[in-house]
């Protein structure tokens, strides 16, 4: 135990003496959290719509006014569809609405009119939403002319099944509350894992590790001495991130903080253990950085941070069984946002514990004092 204390003392001295790294370790994640949580949103507003009105009647203007009144759309009138296409090309418009020349006449004479939407569908998801919004506005216009022209009382659609819905846990569908725990997980892991991994390889490159290898320090003492400081830093940042979430983003913390930190601790054992393992099998900092970068990027994207895990193909879900991020991403959000308890996250906790054993076991096993 005393030996570990001496190693810890040394590690903390080195960490806090490095004046270039300190702000990177502590300020960078905070700034990113505050700025980027708001960036992660699929919410759509300010859709630029270019409207071509070849009809130019009170009816067509009535339709346009519906778009004007909508908070989603910024209307710009263009003289022709070709102009609209140019606007689409240079990204000044997202969608073109063309009202044909005989729109009003056909409506009155044939009881049927038609308008055309050209949607920039490069972002398929946004295009789908734009389509939904636009068609609901046209429907509103439709309803209005029906009641206006035919004197039919407006009312419910009269469909035989009435469906209502309730959104639990996040009734206003605020996306930042969902993203914050996810982004926090990324930040904390990136910091913890890189720092731990680089640390050992750095001692290798500097040659100081040899000096330690000729001493009677035990393998587990050395690994523990390298693990603990970065665990403390990562947990501290996790706590700090939660505080920021609470203060600036109204992040609900419904579940038990003890449970949350227990899960975070076990997860970090896995993450830092992996970092240690990769560092003992690497000989240069460059190597270890690229290796970690590769796995991190893959694991994070597959963890369900942006897209739900269940929607992934089966083989990806199979890979995800060994992806520690999946468990923490899920448990973290559940505990924070839904107040899930110990039994709810037991499976995730158990899986993480197993991986913690494996990762640390491998790190201790592969760390050779003799080469």
């Amino acid at each position: 135990m005393r030996t570990i204390l001496f190693i810890l003392q040394k590690e903390f001295i080195q960490i806090f003496r490095n004046k270039t790294m300190l702000p990177l370790i502590f300020a960078l994640p905070v700034v990113q959290l505050v700025v980027l949580v708001n960036a992660a949103t699929f919410e759509l507003k300010n859709v630029d719509i270019a409207i071509v009105d070849y009809d130019n009647t009170s009816t067509s203007r009535q339709l346009i006014s519906h778009f004007d009144a909508s908070p989603f759309f910024n209307v710009a009138m263009v003289p022709s569809t070709d102009h609209g296409m140019t606007a689409l090309l240079d990204n000044s418009a997202d969608v073109i609405l063309t009202i044909p020349a005989d729109f009003d006449r056909e409506l009155r004479r044939e009881n049927a009119g038609s308008v055309q939407f050209l949607v920039n569908a490069i972002d398929g998801m946004a295009a789908g939403l734009i389509n939904v919004y636009a068609s609901s506005i046209v429907q509103g216009f439709h309803q209005e002319i029906i009641t206006g022209w035919f004197d039919i009382a407006s009312g419910g659609s009269g469909l035989p099944v009435q469906i209502t819905h309730r959104f639990w846990y996040n009734p206003n569908l605020i996306y930042s509350i969902y993203m914050l725990p996810g982004i926090l997980v990324i930040l904390v892991t990136v910091i913890g894992m890189f720092l731990t991994a680089i640390n050992i390889v750095r001692e290798k490159e500097m040659g100081t590790i040899e000096q330690i290898n000729v001493t009677p320090v035990k393998k587990y003492q050395f690994i523990a001495g390298k693990l603990f400081p970065f665990m403390v830093i990562a947990l501290f940042e996790f706590a700090f991130g939660l505080l920021i979430g609470r203060l600036f983003f109204n992040l609900p913390i419904l579940g038990s903080l003890w449970l949350l930190f227990l899960v975070a601790f076990v997860f970090l054992l896995v993450a830092l253990g992996l970092g240690l393992f990769l560092s003992v099998i690497s000989s240069t900092q460059q190597q270890v950085m690229f290796t970690i970068f590769f796995f991190l990027l893959m694991f994070i994207l597959m963890s369900g941070i942006f897209t739900p895990v269940e929607s992934m193909p089966q083989w990806a879900q199979n890979i995800n069984i060994i992806n520690p991020f999946v468990y923490f991403m899920k448990a973290n959000r559940m505990i924070l946002l839904k107040g899930s308890g110990f039994m709810d996250v037991l499976n995730d906790l158990a899986a993480l514990s197993v991986y913690a054993f494996i990762a640390l076991g491998f790190a201790v096993w592969r760390y050779r004092k003799t080469v």
């Binding site: 569908a121 939904v132 959104f167």
Partner: protein, 368 residues
């Protein structure tokens, strides 16, 4: 010049000797593209739902059937009481609970309407919203099928054309995004780390006293990486086109040239970072940590920039990946020519010039 090529050759050998790093450098873009292509779709399918059917009649069975055969939902469990809802949602076993009121079919016949309710776990608001709208649409469709023959007096038809991407495929978003992300990060990371490495190990001073000029040293370190990043760009484009059917409607040569420009810009950023960093650790932290999330989130790669707060939109103007993504999309998907991308090109050239200028200045003052 001879000396210089010798130096480049040495750097190149140095890089390709580390087999694992090489494997990773070329593996990253392939894995990323496959991930985005096959794994990270925004389409939702097989979401777990639970059904609480107080009525258990023929109509509720038909609605349930319709919901489950849509492919969006998978039945996790049928439950018997309201008490179970909370547990199902909190434990994450189900994303939606669908409740049919008792006497569902009877009320429909007697009153003309029957009621059902969806309770969604909105801790993931985006998915919850989508699932609820799918369920709504399926039920509304079913409803409409029940009331045939009641036509509206007037019709407004909407013809919608999804331009550039009729099937609303995700590939048009992720290929340009991945190109930007990978080229940016790898280039900045590789250069900044390899220069910082020389500094850390004290070999930079040896190089500086050698007859090579500082510019040649930096160029020599960077040249091999230009080649590698360019190969990566080609691999991503090839995968996008061959595997995911991404079109190249505009000029391929223009696309290559713009990619080359972007790579050079990213390498300049790497050089600039290395002038600030005196250890590999610092270089890595700045080039990965400070670039990864902003490049992913503020470039329009995953989340559309137009919808963000004006402050974030302001910040997005200094994210180089944003301009490159616009350029790539315009050329590949819209088939636009140089006339439609010259502004973005100019911005990238400007950024590159600025970074190089700042690096040279920093480098000089350090030497004096």
């Amino acid at each position: 010049m001879n000396r210089f090529t010798g130096f480049v050759k040495k750097e190149f050998l140095h890089i390709i000797r580390d087999k694992r790093t090489m494997l990773i450098l070329f593996g990253i873009p392939i894995v990323q593209i496959l991930l985005f292509g096959y794994v990270l779709t925004n389409e939702i399918k097989d979401a777990n739902i639970a059904i609480l059917d107080h009525s258990k009649d023929e109509t509720t069975a038909r609605i349930t059937n319709k919901l489950l055969s849509s492919g969006y939902f998978r039945l996790q469990s049928t439950i018997e009481s309201e008490q179970e809802i909370e547990d199902l949602l909190r434990s994450g076993k189900a994303r939606l609970v669908i409740i049919f009121e008792s006497n569902f079919k009877k009320s429909m016949i007697r009153d003309g309407t029957a009621r059902m309710q969806i309770i969604a776990d909105a801790s993931d608001p985006n998915t919850a919203n989508m699932l609820v709208s799918y369920a709504n649409a399926i039920v509304a469709d079913f409803s409409r099928g029940l009331m045939v023959g009641q036509a509206l007096p007037i019709k407004v038809d909407q013809q919608v054309r999804m331009l550039y991407n009729e099937e609303l495929k995700g590939v048009f978003m992720f290929v340009p995004g991945t190109m930007a992300l990978i080229l940016m990060l790898l280039s900045a990371m590789m250069t900044s780390i390899s220069i910082a490495r020389e500094k850390e190990q004290g070999t930079m001073e040896i190089l500086l006293v050698s007859p090579l000029r500082p510019v040649q040293i930096v160029l020599g370190k960077v040249t091999p990486y230009i080649g590698m990043a360019f190969i990566n760009a080609l691999v991503i484009i090839a995968l996008g086109v061959l595997v995911f059917g991404m079109p190249v409607r505009g000029s391929l040569i223009l696309l290559m040239a713009e990619s080359f420009l972007f790579i050079c810009m990213a390498l300049s950023l790497g050089i600039f970072i290395s002038t600030m960093a005196n250890s590999q650790q610092v270089a890595m932290f700045i080039s990965v940590f400070a670039l990864l999330l902003p490049t992913m989130l503020l470039s329009g790669f995953i989340f559309p920039v137009e919808n963000m707060h004006w402050i974030l939109q302001g910040i997005s103007h200094i994210i180089p990946a944003k301009y490159y993504i616009i350029i790539v999309k315009n050329i590949m998907i819209k088939g636009a020519g140089f006339l439609f991308v010259w502004k973005e090109t100019l911005v990238l050239v400007g950024m590159m010039a600025l970074l190089l200028l700042a690096s040279v200045k920093k480098f000089k003052t350090r030497l004096e």
